[in-house]
Assembly symmetry: C2
Homo-oligomer: 350 residues x 2
């Protein structure tokens, strides 16, 4: 390494942008090298599509920075970083099918382009592909650390599937009696494990060659990831064109967000009945007027403010965890990046 400017010369948001750009470009290059050539009909083009659309690379950069902060070389963590991005994209393909999403990163969702059967199969293939760099870890990190990382990956994917099941189940049964705590449990599993908890745990394992107590990183990852997800939900409702997904898409999908939960809590009896009927209908039968009414209900409840407030509380808790976890870790651009991420997740616009 060494291409990153001195930490003292950059403030936190700049540090984050610089690292995301720098590490992100290298991960993107390694992901590209791992993807199959566009050879096999009905498969390779689909497998290559989402990873080549770009993306923030936050997950992989967090893993790389943590590994380096704990003493690893960039190349030690690169295969795991690649696996993270492949798995992330594989999950996006299946999530988009499950959520009936129309867009991803500014383009039509994969199943809108090729139909559900071929997109589903491409998601399976991409998730499979992530095993390859994890196997490669064996050569550089030894079989014990490589198996530990496989175990962490399995745990993470397991938690993600449980979170996805919870969210889909709520919609399937049209459940409205969901609390803020239920929501936080759901995103802990659905979002935080892949977005933040796994990257820091894996990074710490790589940096310490398996010696780290990964459980210590759980709360930092949860607080940071939850702030990230709530900000994502806010952007989905109130973001601009840079966001890359359809604005208001969550409302069309009937996604249980802090905002929707808060609006329900504040709603009158008749509004609750109307809301429940609206969300019981299939997505296709919802109208622009329905969505406008939903949005108005959210605004009247000051629900975005409530969500922002919660996200800021979580970010504060993440910063306190960071100070404890990284107290003995020498100052470095990587350490600064990890701490800077906490403010960045709230300031980002896409």
């Amino acid at each position: 390494m060494g291409s990153v400017t001195d930490p003292g010369l950059l403030d936190a948001p700049e540090r984050v942008q610089t690292t995301l750009a720098d590490y992100g470009a290298r991960v993107r290059e390694a992901v590209r090298a791992t993807l199959p050539a566009a050879r096999r009909p009905y498969l390779d083009d689909l497998v290559r599509d989402y990873p080549l659309r770009g993306g923030k690379m936050m997950r992989s950069c967090l893993c790389l920075a943590t590994a380096r902060a704990f003493g690893a070389a960039f190349e030690d963590a690169l295969p795991t970083a690649v696996a993270i991005e492949l798995l992330h994209n594989a999950m996006l393909i299946h999530d988009d099918i499950e959520d009936g999403s129309d867009e991803r990163r500014g383009y039509p969702a994969l199943h809108r382009l090729h139909g559900v059967p071929l997109a589903l199969n491409a998601g399976d293939t991409l998730s499979l592909l992530s095993l390859r760099p994890l196997r490669d870890n064996q050569a550089r990190l030894g079989p014990l650390v490589a198996f530990r990382l496989l175990e962490e990956t399995e745990r993470m994917a397991w938690e993600s599937a449980e979170g996805q099941a919870l969210e889909l189940g709520w919609r399937h049964d049209n459940r409205m009696d969901v609390s803020d705590a239920d929501y936080l449990t759901m995103i802990l599993k659905k979002t935080c494990w892949l977005a933040t908890i796994f990257p820091v745990r894996a990074g710490a394992l790589i940096g310490t060659r398996g010696a780290a107590d990964v459980e210590a990183f759980f709360r930092f990852g949860f607080f940071l990831g939850a702030a990230f997800q709530i900000q994502d939900d806010i952007l989905n409702l109130a973001g601009d064109a840079r966001y890359g997904k359809e604005i208001g898409g969550d409302l069309w999908e009937g996604k249980r967000t802090l905002m929707l939960i808060h609006a329900w809590r504040r709603a009158s009896r008749s509004e609750r009945a109307r809301l429940s009927r609206l969300l019981a209908r299939p997505r296709e039968s919802r109208t622009v007027a329905d969505i406008a009414w939903l949005r108005e209900l959210i605004d009247r409840a000051d629900a975005i403010e409530h969500a922002r407030h919660t996200a800021h509380g979580l970010a504060g808790a993440a910063l306190r965890e960071f100070d404890v976890l990284f107290a003995g870790v020498p100052d470095s651009p990587d350490r600064a990046f990890i701490g800077g991420l906490v403010t960045w997740v709230l300031q980002r616009v896409h």
Copy 2:
């Protein structure tokens, strides 16, 4: 082991039945122990459903018998056998969604019971669960053999996804210009890798503690698996209630089988046009009369006879491969089971 009767006392089909029942029961028990308790809402019940519906256990028994024939203990191969059944069931969940199938093992397909989103997510979780026994291999077989088995698993899943993409793609584009050779390439990937090639390769690796040349087992697996798949297609068309899937389901799905390909080859110009129009329409719009006409076209072309003939040729080739591969392997119930499978796949009725 030791519970299996002397090989000399049983003829080949009995040997196969006995081994499938005996080994199958133990694998089923180990699968049950690996499945999650029915705890997590919207997930565990769905994950447990297909594996607990039963199944032939042919894939896992073939792996166990090969491992034992090459000198392993039953317990050495049990985790891999469990992984095979978990992966098989995971793929069935996704295949049923992709094919729009209505039934599986005599009951509604999982997505018919719970909708596509939750079923898709349960398939992901089940496939993930198969990683656990593969990780466990490390303790008993050592890290090198365990990593080799992971590598073989990944290769197999990769081939399966490619085969699935081919078949789905043919239907997606309504391609009719598919030859018998194209069909064999497709089932080599879609069926044979999981059903037969991977089980014998993995079994040989376990039995020889990584020393086997797995490539030598490729042709035996292909010939056996292809005979198995063609017989499956025949049963789907001409089987009875014991088959467990809807009879004629492949016709409703427009699946490119040897029979359909042969009927197309023998059809007149106007029949081809009608066939192509029929298959271009979505499954839901096909009528009982359409399917009856398709069936008549297949009968007039003697297509079932053509498929039977091909399956018998493949089984003969599999037997020759078996004789070469197992020439130096001492006679045993396991060896007899593997050889007996070749006739069994053609005689089975479900």
